[in-house]
């Protein structure tokens, strides 16, 4: 596409194969995109078209991506390559210098601040450090989007909060009254996910969901992302450099290097790649 030898696999057609790296001893025999009702040909839920962005120096050059409904796209790359910036573009926390960002087919570049807030309600975001409001309890954090954007009464909100906390394997009676400072890193991440799905958002964006976590907690969070894919069919974009976890959750992986997407394909295609950069990036995985 660009003549870049590393750019193999970009926009490759066949991505039906799925990594057989099972989780919990549960072999993954069903192609992940079919299991999720993911349809590559449908109108993409998220689309970046020829996006350029610079701050003091160029950060993203001609980035094009499509994320289909029910898909989990992992954006991988070295630190400082602009992975999290792509999430901020999708949320319209940043506006590209050139190119388009579309959510559900709607171009969001030119939306007013208030209109952008509306679009963001379709999305849930799980931040690297969880970004829980530290002056609020766990209950208030998870209830926040419900209080802001729904007409649910207090009992309904409590019921929904309990349901979401249970969904992320937390004991509501134990954690609801706690402040974020009293939680472990993994629990904070799970509360962050519960807050992200409280409003039944159709799109979930994860920024380094497993960074800074021990291997067991990393497994728990990875399992949770898979569960959300499987049971709720949410469209997910995961920014991560934890490739073990990425291979477990991704339907496709985009590798970002030198300001561009140098690889876009399924985990199996990535694992089979002979490209030196990709082999170095994957290490002994």
């Amino acid at each position: 596409m660009s003549g870049d030898p590393v750019r193999e696999g970009v926009e490759s057609g066949d991505d039906t194969a799925v990594s057989d790296l099972g989780f919990d001893g549960e072999p993954d025999t069903v192609p992940r995109e079919r299991a999720n009702g993911y349809d590559r040909d449908a109108t993409p839920v998220i689309e970046l078209a020829h996006v350029y962005l610079s701050f003091d120096s160029p950060l993203l050059d001609d980035i094009s991506l499509k994320v289909a409904r029910g898909e989990t796209l992992v954006i991988a790359g070295e630190s400082g390559t602009g992975k999290s910036t792509i999430l901020k573009l999708m949320l319209r926390l940043l506006v590209p210098d050139k190119g388009d960002v579309l959510i559900d087919g709607e171009r969001i570049n030119d939306l007013s601040f208030e209109e952008a807030l509306e679009v963001r309600q379709k999305m849930g975001m799980v931040f690297q450090g969880a970004a829980l409001f530290d002056s609020m309890t766990v209950f208030e954090n998870v209830a926040y989007p419900l209080r802001e954007h729904t007409d649910l009464d207090d009992d309904e909100i409590e019921e929904r909060v309990r349901q979401k906390l249970e969904y992320v394997d937390l004991d509501p009676d134990k954690v609801m009254g706690q402040l974020p400072a009293e939680l472990s890193g993994g629990m904070k991440k799970r509360v962050g996910i519960a807050r992200g799905i409280a409003n039944d958002a159709a799109i979930l964006l994860y920024d380094e969901p497993t960074s800074g976590l021990d291997p067991l907690t990393t497994g728990t969070i990875t399992r949770l992302i898979r569960k959300l894919q499987r049971e709720m069919g949410v469209t997910s974009v995961v920014v991560s450099h934890d490739m073990r976890s990425a291979f477990l959750v991704a339907t496709r992986i985009a590798l970002l290097a030198r300001r561009r997407i140098v690889f876009l394909g399924t985990p199996d295609e990535m694992a089979a790649s002979k490209d030196h950069y990709i082999r170095d990036f994957l290490g002994d995985l």
């Binding site: 509306e118 970004a131 829980l132 409001f133």
Partner: protein
Amino acid sequence: MFHPLKRLNEAAKRAVHAVQSYFLLAWNAVRFIVARPFYGGDIIQQMDSIGVQSLGIVLLTGFFTGMVLALQFSVQMAQFGATMYLGRLVTASMIRELGPVLAGLMVAGRVGSGIAAEIGSMRVTEQIDALNTLGTDPIKKLVTPRLLAALVMLPVLTILADLIGIFGGNVIASLYVGIPTSLYWRTVWEQIAAGGFLLRYIPTDFIQGLFKPFVFGALISITGCFFGLETSGGTEGVGKATTRTVVTASVLILTTDYFMTQILLYILP
């Protein structure tokens, strides 16, 4: 030769941009006062944090300022045999200048820095981004309640600082100078009535004394929020934001006080 000019140009651009952002933030914070949703709980919480929790420090400084004013004036006025007018001088100084300015400076130090630290920490831990992604405008949620609370509480704190300052003057007048309390309070009232009344009942001194803290409240809250929202560079950035807030808010209070005094003396001599 060219290089320093270029840097000067860049610095000037940054300064103009910062001033523009400051006024834009202030405008949006004011605009959201009448826009739904209203964060009533946050406003009450901020009124407690800005007003009630600043009461101690404002009363303490007001009391000692009133005492030191009475002490200094008594020495000077004794030379002219005019110590009986001590109440008038203390009252005029406290109501017109020292009450508003001292309350403003104390709140800038205590509350302005707190606002910058809180919002700055929220910025560096991505809580501001989280608000945005949850469909909440951070200005509406964080800045407007603080602005409203400061607009209400600064005048209240100033009235209390004025009262306790005048009372401090009374303590010195009766214990040190030997002026009877009844005479002291009569001269206090004479001073209040001397400037005349607006709409028959509102002493013009009060107008001057209460307009200033209203403006100072806006300056302190917007400055704290501005530097908090602009924070970058982790915890070190939070420290810088608090320092900048206290310095900027204090300078703004003292400079706008001068210009407001000029204007108010022209309008209400």
